[in-house]
């Protein structure tokens, strides 16, 4: 079966000019090219967001520092958060989903290729619009340019009275635009996964990556839209004289918080679920065993999807909700930890009794496991509302969510890069540079984010551009900043590897990892039509069946 799917007759084409190549990329509706564009776009913004973080950390390295002004610092943390969530994490995960889902379900493309392209360009434009604000907007009191209201843009700070000038509008509009792009991709993924699976691939035989992206897409539909609605309301307040969040007219600042976090919390699950997918594809291959408990993994993810819709106000424990509301959100926030914890156990169960190969993708996955465990546990601490009354809005929370996003999501994304780069480009990334990247990043990550918890415990709030000496925060902030430079070194190694290996990397072949899902049955990189013949599958691991005809999976499923 493997040989069937390889390109049969490569057609000889004349060399094309650079203009033609660029044009090809701009007008493409091919899910693979769009996937690559999403990923490259996100990598550029990862570097930009990283620079923003580095500048902030230098400012906070010592007390009463004057590296940047308060206005610039406030813009930096707003832009850093907004960029990383909307223009790094979302696009990179959509990019991988775009690239991999059709290949893994044996389809030739997504259900709506033109919608796919439209969604990408909407997202791309949104990011450019946000950064245009650096030239075009006016911040608080007319000073500064980029948005400076925090990435949650709490009312009434965003009202015309407190944010004259257009910086908040750039925040609103850029996210509104890219939000519609995300909804488009969500629609596309659902339609593709539900309607375009190859023959024999029932929902129960889909790779977990497809299942998890299905859940994620469903969440996107009902999660991004509350943010869009709230942003429309904000625009009505700012430009049509509306009073949605106008506390002077009887409006409510708290209702913005509710609307925002009804988006905001499920959003972070939208970000982590595709990373669970990467774990669920990579860990089995490098443990040489199937995923432990496939049905429960699906069920747990669906549960997480639903429960995550009911926890949002744990971001609002300090705003003075009733004790009953606080209790409700405390218990739901703790309960969501159960299916999440189950997944951790299932990955350990996958590794247990296997033959673990410590290649770079697996190293990042093991890092994920360790760090996501810790992040989940600090999350349980935050779910306990009274404890949260101390920890909320402090550097403890900042440490917690960076633990999830960098220690979890980014590690999984790095793992995905090392795992699927051979498929996308036809060449292997360097194992040596990969390990260097891993260890440098691991050290830097832990220096920064382990020690970041401590100032929070000692009373350091977040979003402050400086702090007075003598509160016991100085040395911890210094260590946190030092870790940043290790991470920068690691990312530089990574970017160098990406470029160098593209030209000089070892040729990968179809299936360098001896894996089991359909994308490894076609060439690396796959031809435009993906498969010469649409595959027919009988189990969850079609390539395992092909390689082990004496012991195929479908006997046991």
């Amino acid at each position: 079966m493997a040989s069937d799917s390889i390109a049969i007759t490569p057609v000889a084409v004349g060399a094309r000019s650079i203009g033609e190549k660029i044009h090809d990329w701009i007008v493409t509706v091919d899910h693979k090219k769009l996937g690559i564009m999403y990923i490259v776009y996100a990598l550029i913004f990862l570097v930009i967001g990283g620079i923003e973080a580095t500048v902030m950390r230098i400012q906070l390295m010592v007390p009463n520092n004057h590296f940047v002004s308060p206005e610039v610092f406030n813009q930096l943390f707003t832009m850093h958060g907004t960029t990383m969530i909307f223009f790094v994490a979302m696009p990179i995960l959509f990019g991988f989903a775009n690239y991999l889902v059709p290949l893994m379900i044996g389809a030739r493309d997504m259900a709506f290729p033109r919608l796919n392209a439209f969604s990408f360009w909407l997202t791309a434009f949104g990011g450019l619009l946000l950064y245009f604000s650096v030239f075009g907007g006016n911040g608080l009191y007319g000073a500064g340019t980029a948005p400076d209201v925090g990435w949650w843009a709490y009312a009434p700070l965003t009202a015309k009275a407190f944010s004259p000038g257009h910086s908040s509008d750039y925040w609103t509009l850029s996210l509104l635009v890219s939000g519609f792009g995300s909804i488009g991709t969500g629609i596309n993924l659902i339609a593709t996964i539900l309607c375009m699976r190859c023959p024999g691939m029932t929902l129960g035989r889909m790779p977990l990556l497809a299942w998890l992206n299905l859940v994620m897409s469903g969440m996107v539909l009902i999660t991004l839209t509350p943010l869009s609605a709230a942003q429309i309301m904000l625009l009505i307040d700012r430009y049509l004289g509306g009073h949605f969040f106008d506390t002077q007219a009887g409006g409510s600042a708290a209702i913005w918080m509710h609307f925002f976090w009804i988006f905001g919390h499920p959003e972070v699950y939208i970000l982590i679920i595709p990373c669970f997918a990467f774990m669920s594809e990579i860990v089995p291959v490098f443990s040489r065993k199937p995923i432990f408990g496939y049905p429960v993994m699906v069920g747990a993810t669906v549960c997480i999807g639903f429960i995550s819709m009911s926890v949002w106000a744990h971001h609002m424990f300090t705003i003075g909700m009733s004790s009953y509301a606080n209790s409700f959100f405390a218990i739901t926030s703790m309960i969501v930890g159960v299916p999440t914890g189950i997944k951790i156990f299932n990955w350990i169960g996958t590794m247990w009794g296997g033959k673990i190969q410590f290649k770079t993708p697996m190293l990042f996955c093991i890092g994920f496991l360790f760090q996501f465990l810790i992040a989940g546990l600090t999350g349980i601490m935050l779910a306990s509302a009274p404890f949260d009354w101390q920890l909320s809005l402090s550097y403890f929370v900042v440490a917690h969510f960076h633990y999830v996003i960098v220690g979890g999501i980014l590690f999984a994304i790095f793992g995905a890069f090392y795992y699927w780069y051979p498929k996308i480009t036809g060449r292997m990334l360097s194992e040596t540079l990969g390990k260097m990247h891993f260890w440098l990043f691991l050290i830097g990550f832990h220096l920064t984010f382990d020690f970041m918890h401590i100032p929070g415990l000692l009373g350091m709030p977040r979003r402050i551009y400086t702090y007075e000496a003598g509160r016991g925060w100085e040395a911890w902030n210094m260590i946190v900043t030092i870790g940043v430079f290790f991470q920068i070194a690691a990312v530089l190694v990574f970017v160098w590897d990406l470029v160098w290996s593209f030209y000089q990397g070892e040729v990968a072949g179809n299936d360098p990892w001896d894996a089991w899902t359909l994308e490894w049955s076609t060439a690396s990189p796959p031809p435009e039509y993906n498969f010469a013949r649409i595959p027919v599958v009988k189990s969850r691991r079609p390539l395992w069946d092909a390689k082990h005809p004496e012991d195929p999976d479908w006997k046991y499923e």
């Binding site: 002004s69 308060p70 406030n74 608080l140 009191y141 400076d148 209201v149 709490y154 009434p156 407190f162 506390t247 600042a253 443990s287 065993k289 408990g293 300090t318 405390a330 218990i331 703790m334 930890g337 159960v338 156990f345 350990i348 590794m351 247990w352 009794g353 033959k355 673990i356 190969q357 410590f358 360790f370 465990l373 601490m381 779910a383 306990s384 009274p386 404890f387 009354w389 920890l391 909320s392 809005l393 402090s394 832990h446 220096l447 382990d450 020690f451 009373g459 709030p461 977040r462 979003r463 402050i464 551009y465 000496a469 509160r471 016991g472 100085e474 040395a475 911890w476 046991y556 499923e557």
Partner: protein, 353 residues
């Protein structure tokens, strides 16, 4: 992966941990050596019942999560060490195990039980802190958040002050807690003095309340914890917990009208004629502005500009002439007075004890 590579990896692990540990100890020495530890706003050194309750709950939560961490971390380390591919491996695939109903059931039920225990402990503290009744001896303070300073009113005592709040120490047998009503004049703020209580937000059009009952006298530091604009970082809080005598004395002073010292008549005239009274109030004079802090007893405070600078005459001078030098983009305008007027004004303010 070869044995030597594994050993090298393990060595790097150990070295890494050693580095982290050294860094930790170094930082600990630096941090805690710096200042009187009682002034470090450490949530693990509570000094008031709400903070105590939270501390006790946090110990339970930390123990439980710590235990979970040790177990799961242990499993991960064990799996990684035991099931790594060895040199001399026979290249056969290991047994393909698809799952196990009993194991999966167990590791579902146990976490649910843990969650139940944690939740019950949590709910108890929520109710005891949030729904605590107000005993008759309580002091009532209304805190109004502004960009970027705190207004404190004691409605029953007729006191208005700013940024530094005085409360009496509370005896456990005869509690005299302080109940704060939290309001906001503009954007969202948050009142956080870690050693005394968890934080509660000040949200416009959404009154909140909280309480503290400090067990020891002293100064407790905190600051605004909800991003409220440009100078959010310099909206500091100082809570002075006084003995009953000290508190009574403080109340007595604060209730009085402003000192009326004739030698600074000139300065008072500058104050009353150059727009200061548009924003500031001084009890017993024509100054009745509400946009900025009440200055009746300005010199009884240790800091100015919500903790941004110590309260000295020189700092006051700088603050009036060029607020941006102390707190850039605060809402205090630069008054652009000539030196003569400025000196007189500062001398006048210096009498407002």
């Amino acid at each position: 992966m070869k044995c030597s590579e594994q050993t090298r990896n393990r060595f790097t692990n150990v070295a890494g941990v050693a580095v982290l540990l050294a860094g930790f100890l170094f930082a600990a020495r630096l941090s805690f050596g710096a200042r009187d530890p009682s002034q470090i706003p450490n949530i693990f050194r509570p000094d008031s019942t709400p903070a105590d309750s939270i501390f006790n709950l946090s110990m339970l939560v930390l123990s439980v999560t710590g235990a979970i961490f040790l177990v799961v971390f242990g499993l991960i380390v064990y799996a990684v060490l035991k099931y790594g591919k060895r040199a001399g491996d026979d290249r056969r695939e290991p047994p393909q195990v698809y799952g196990s109903n009993q194991i999966e059931l167990a590791w579902t039920v146990i976490p649910v039980l843990i969650v139940l225990v944690l939740f019950l402990a949590t709910a108890r503290v929520i109710l005891s802190v949030q729904d605590a009744p107000k005993p008759p001896g309580s002091i009532e303070v209304t805190a109004i958040g502004h960009q970027f300073w705190w207004e404190f009113r004691y409605p029953k005592l007729g006191i208005v002050t700013a940024n530094e709040v005085h409360v009496p120490v509370s005896d456990r047998s005869h509690p005299t807690p302080t109940f704060l009503t939290l309001l906001s004049a503009d954007t969202d703020h948050s009142f956080w003095v870690p050693r005394l209580a968890g934080k509660t937000d000040l949200i416009p059009n959404h009154p909140n309340s909280m309480w503290i009952d400090p067990h020891e006298t002293g100064l407790f530091l905190g600051q605004c914890a909800q991003y409220c604009g440009v100078e959010h970082a310099l909206m500091l809080l100082r809570v002075y917990v006084d003995s009953p005598e000290q508190f009574a004395e403080w109340v007595q002073t604060q209730k009085m009208a402003a000192a009326n010292d004739n030698s600074v008549e000139q300065g008072r005239r500058v104050f009353e004629s150059t727009g200061c009274i548009d924003c500031h109030a001084v009890k017993g004079t024509v100054a009745n502005g509400h946009f900025g802090p009440d200055l009746t007893h300005l010199m009884s405070r240790d800091t100015i500009a919500a903790g941004a600078a110590p309260n000295t005459l020189q700092n006051l001078r700088n603050w009036i002439q060029d607020p941006d030098s102390i707190k850039p983009r605060s809402l205090m305008p630069a008054m652009k007075l000539n030196d003569h007027d400025l000196d007189a004004l500062v001398a006048y303010l210096g009498t407002l004890r």
